[in-house]
């Protein structure tokens, strides 16, 4: 719609997929939740399971645009619109989501990771619709951290956004998933950073290494909203903040 209003969409005849009941369902199975691509941010925010088990997604939905956008904007639209600054996408990366794509040729299920191939480019075919987003229900015992850094506290497009999950065993980081938005042509999972942290205890030295690795892994740019240097530094800071909080979460238990 944004492209349309700015006159940047050559096509003037559009098909609305708004309110197709098949796209608007949230189905729960014992090991999985299947979120229809037509669910709005408000739908996500109000769903009890998402709020409890997929907090990163609920958080992202809560800071997307304003209430009006949340009532009308959909998760499928956020994925297909493929903005590197999209707020929900790091959460989907962290949860290792899978997408259900549908066309006249039938349905296929693809991992969400690597779905975005380049700036604003995705793997779904021109005649394919995103039908649903599937999340495995196995993150309840993870510590979760997400933060959006925008130019203001509401109604802002992210300069950097982070969604991260971590699990400790004693002082050791047993599992870790860190995903970021707005700092590369596509939403990015910080694989290298995860590797250097996994299996180690969190101390000052690890924070530095993790921050530096994260900074090296991303490829932020200068644009109308922020600078490359700022995005790089803040991404590192956020990763460090996440690890500090993860370490503190153990002490609180």
């Amino acid at each position: 719609m944004v492209q349309y209003a700015a006159g940047k969409l050559p096509a003037r005849k559009l098909v609305s997929v708004w309110n197709l009941p098949e796209l608007r369902r949230i189905e729960t199975f014992p090991d999985e939740i299947r979120i229809g691509a037509g669910c709005t941010y408000t739908d996500l925010r109000q769903n009890a399971i998402i709020r409890r088990e997929f907090q990163l997604l609920a958080n992202a939905a809560g800071w997307t645009g304003g209430i009006a956008n949340q009532n009308r904007g959909t998760l499928g639209g956020n994925i297909a619109n493929a903005s590197p600054a999209a707020d929900s996408l790091p959460a989907l990366l962290a949860y290792e989501a899978e997408l259900v794509l549908v066309s006249v040729r039938g349905e296929r299920r693809v991992p969400y990771v690597n779905f975005h191939t380049a700036y604003k480019k995705t793997k779904h075919a021109a005649d394919e619709l995103i039908r649903a987003v599937c999340l495995r229900r196995r993150f309840l015992d993870y510590f979760c951290y997400s933060r959006k850094v925008g130019a203001r506290r509401a109604q802002a497009i992210s300069k950097v956004c982070v969604a991260a999950l971590g699990r400790l065993k004693g002082p050791i980081v047993q599992d870790l998933r860190v995903a970021v938005g707005s700092v590369a042509p596509v939403p990015l999972r910080l694989v290298e950073t995860e590797l250097v942290v996994k299996g180690k205890a969190i101390d000052q030295a690890l924070l530095s290494v993790a921050g530096r690795t994260a900074t090296a892994e991303i490829s932020p740019i200068d644009d109308i909203r922020s600078t490359m240097r700022y995005r790089a530094k803040v991404t590192g800071n956020l990763v460090a903040e996440f690890l500090q909080k993860l370490a503190a979460s153990a002490k609180n238990e």
Partner: protein
């Protein structure tokens, strides 16, 4: 101050019900039979000669009305101060978005494609975009030296102070452009017929500015030009001078097409093409004794005026006069200049030069305090202006203002000292740094110097046949409460009901010229005139014997009815007369700059998040002496709104320029704070009265724009122990400065 029945009470807004119920008519609500829509073809380069204009294929050009400079019946300029700005570019353009051609068509959706298909070829000329480039004169883009206006204010003997100084403190301070961002975009409708001439209806602040501009542009006598203000959804100075251009464009299209023409800017066009606050640079060099007394110094205040003169001479004048702040300077030299660049002309915006120069002086006071080894509180206490002393223009302070007491009260209300102590403790450990900052300042109400005398504003008050009383002024309502407060003044003066007073629509055919609605002058100057015109009504009714001295509101209504029935319409007018003891020298820029100053102390508490380098304002205290508060709710609204707008100016709103064009002309990327970004605002008033204003009022509209920027940057300095002298101050700027001063390491915490 005694509070009247109506003055001092928060009566309902005159136009509030219509606004709430949607009855209020804005210009885009208005339709005229046979009306066309207009659009503007603008330059896409910052400077150059127009070589060729091609009307592209695929457009039914015969359906369009096309206007170029050669269709202008009168003078191709926007008459204001200096006639250097064309209404439509003729051969040469001097900034991006400069109007070149106008199109009109019955279908408003046919216009964007038509505008886009007009190709303009240029011979580009080198353009300049900064004050420094303009000063260097590497390109002369205006006059002989790129300088629209200079002022020199001199007091005492500045050259003699440096030897006596224990410290000489220097600083340079800069401020950026700011968009007014009224809710309602600019818009106008014009109609023309040979018998009545041109009529325009629009969203505007100053009907008679437009009246003057249209007479010259359309070559019409005064009685063949009519300007009507529609309900106006915000202005902030952004509808002071620019609407003359849009009115001119709509009028030219209406004259050529023979149909009424409506032009409404969308948000992107409005933000990219219309005026913004002047960017500025201020340099201070101050001689101070070891105990912190200012001996005097030099201040150089320079603004970027953009490509044409417009109001820059007046903006730079107000900035220069406020540059010394509320401090006593026995010796001072202020040099002020407005420079030309190839930006779209910068223009009026709430504060009008004062926020820029007051930002500088209030940052500089903190720098002086640091150099001398005093606190920000002490340095101010030691230098505040006192009654009997004179300002930089040698205006004697005649009112009994006690700035030390004002500061004391602000410190107490904000709990300054205990917060400061607490923050110093907490900052040693926490990931967030907190700070608290002060700004003390003043704002002159009304036109500067001989300005009000030259304007010679006139108002009228009319007793109507139905017994009500009507106010006739060209002073406009655009959200600030003009209608309400002027009606309160009349009701109070005549001891009648607030609902017995109405106010005429600002229509130049009906209302006298009470001057522009600018410069915090309406309540003080126009209000005072309205008061005397109202008294004239009472005198006439008394002389005619239709009321007794002690009348009731009901008797007054009956008297009006009786008088009008017997004698016809009764209008009483009042014209501004300058007090005879007021002295102002326009040559030397010396004397009584303003009839009254409002005084204020603002205190901001901030947190700097060291993970994101973003600043949030946690608490804001605004204490001001404003003469007399005529309407508490509106006055608070003015202060809180002004503070919010100034917080945007300080921490959020950055115009991103590229090749002289605003890149972020959208509300997604031009960031104004939302309600969740704003702190609780604690607003307090002192009321000392003012003999020049209605019921003791001074102006308050612009005042709150002046203090927040320095208070916030002083608080950031307190939090980080690092100084910032430039606004807007964004997280990116804080990060770069901290990185360069090695306050943040490359390590991650």
């Amino acid at each position: 101050m005694t509070t009247g029945r109506i003055v001092g009470a928060s009566v309902p807004r005159k136009e509030g019900r219509d606004k709430l119920t949607g009855k209020a008519q804005y210009v885009d609500d208005m339709q005229l039979p046979g009306m066309l829509y207009g659009a503007t073809v603008r330059s896409r380069i910052p400077r150059g000669k127009i070589k060729k204009i091609t009307f592209g294929p695929g457009i039914a050009w015969d359906e369009f009305t096309v206007v170029s400079a050669k269709d202008i019946p009168g003078k191709n300029c926007i008459a204001l101060i200096v006639d250097d700005q064309s209404c439509l570019a003729d051969g040469i353009v001097n900034h991006q978005e400069e109007p070149i051609l106008l199109l009109a068509h019955a279908d408003r959706h046919a216009l964007p494609k038509a505008v886009d298909s007009i190709a303009i070829e240029y011979d580009p000329l080198p353009a300049i975009f900064t004050i420094e480039e303009s000063e260097s004169q590497s390109q002369i883009i205006w006059g002989t030296d790129n300088t629209f206006k200079t002022y020199l204010v001199e007091k005492g003997d500045v050259d003699g102070i440096w030897e006596r100084a224990d410290h000489i403190v220097e600083g340079e301070y800069t401020t950026g452009a700011q968009e007014q961002l009224y809710i309602e975009n600019n818009g106008m409708i014009a109609a023309f017929d040979p018998q009545h001439g041109v009529t325009v209806w629009g969203s505007l602040q100053c009907p008679f500015y437009i009246h003057k501009a249209l007479m010259s542009l359309c070559n019409l006598p005064a009685d063949k030009v009519r300007v009507v203000q529609m309900e106006t959804g915000g202005a902030f100075g952004g509808k002071e001078e620019y609407p003359s251009i849009i009115a001119g464009h709509a009028a030219l299209l209406a004259i050529k097409s023979g149909c009424p023409v409506k032009i409404i800017y969308d948000r992107m066009e409005d933000m990219a093409a219309t005026t913004k606050r002047h960017p500025s640079r201020t340099r201070h060099r101050t001689a101070v004794t070891k105990d912190g007394k200012i001996l005097g110094g030099e201040i150089e205040f320079t603004i970027d005026g953009g490509a044409y003169t417009t109001l820059s001479p007046v903006v730079v004048s107000r900035g220069a006069i406020h540059a010394g702040g509320p401090y006593y300077r026995p010796n001072v030299r202020i040099r002020a200049r407005a420079m030309a660049t190839n930006a779209p002309p910068h223009g009026a915006f709430r504060g009008f030069g004062a926020p820029q120069s007051l930002f500088a002086v209030e940052r500089h006071m903190n720098r002086i305090a640091q150099t001398v080894g005093l606190t920000p509180v002490e340095i101010r206490q030691r230098n505040f202006l006192k009654p009997g002393q004179t300002t930089t223009t040698e205006q004697a302070i005649r009112e009994n203002i006690d700035l030390e007491k004002l500061l004391d009260r602000a410190l107490q209300l904000s709990d300054y000292h205990s917060m400061k102590k607490r923050f110093a403790g907490e900052n040693a450990t926490g990931p967030a740094k907190k700070g608290i900052g002060i700004a003390a300042f003043l704002h002159g109400a009304g036109f500067t110097g001989s300005g009000e005398r030259n304007l010679g504003s006139v108002v009228e008050v009319e007793a109507c046949a139905d017994g009500s009383v009507r106010v006739l002024v060209s002073s406009t309502e655009f959200g600030q409460g003009t209608k309400t407060v002027l009606c309160q003044i009349v009701a109070e003066t005549l001891r009648i009901g607030y609902e017995d007073v109405t106010i005429a629509q600002a229509d130049t055919d009906d209302v006298p010229n009470s001057g522009p609605t600018v410069a915090s002058r309406t309540v003080m100057v126009v209000g005072k005139l309205v008061q005397s015109a109202a008294l004239g009504i009472k005198q006439t009714l008394t002389a005619a014997g239709v009321i007794r001295p002690a009348y009731s509101a009901q008797e007054f209504r009956a008297a009006c009815r009786a008088y009008v029935a017997a004698h016809g319409a009764l209008r009483s007018s009042a014209r501004f007369e300058a007090p005879s003891d007021v002295f102002w020298d326009d040559e030397k820029y010396r004397g009584e700059a303003y009839a009254a100053f409002a005084w204020a102390v603002y205190i901001a508490a901030v947190t700097v998040d060291m993970t994101t380098y973003s600043v949030s304002v946690d608490d804001f205290l605004a204490l001001q002496e404003v003469g007399k508060v005529l309407h508490p709710v509106l006055a608070r609204g003015q202060i809180a709104g002004g503070v919010a707008q100034a917080i945007g100016y300080t921490l959020y709103e950055k115009v991103v320029w590229q090749n002289g064009r605003m890149q972020n002309s959208q509300m997604t990327n031009y960031i104004m704070p939302t309600s969740v970004d704003l702190p609780p605002m604690r607003v307090f008033f002192e009321e000392m009265g003012n003999i020049h204003g209605a019921f003791g009022a001074k102006g308050i509209g612009e005042l709150p724009m002046d203090g927040p920027a320095p208070a916030i940057l002083n608080a950031v300095e307190d939090a980080l122990q690092v100084s910032f002298d430039s606004i807007p101050l964004l997280p990116e700027d804080i990060y770069e400065k901290l990185a360069s001063e090695a306050v943040v390491e490359t390590e991650f915490r």
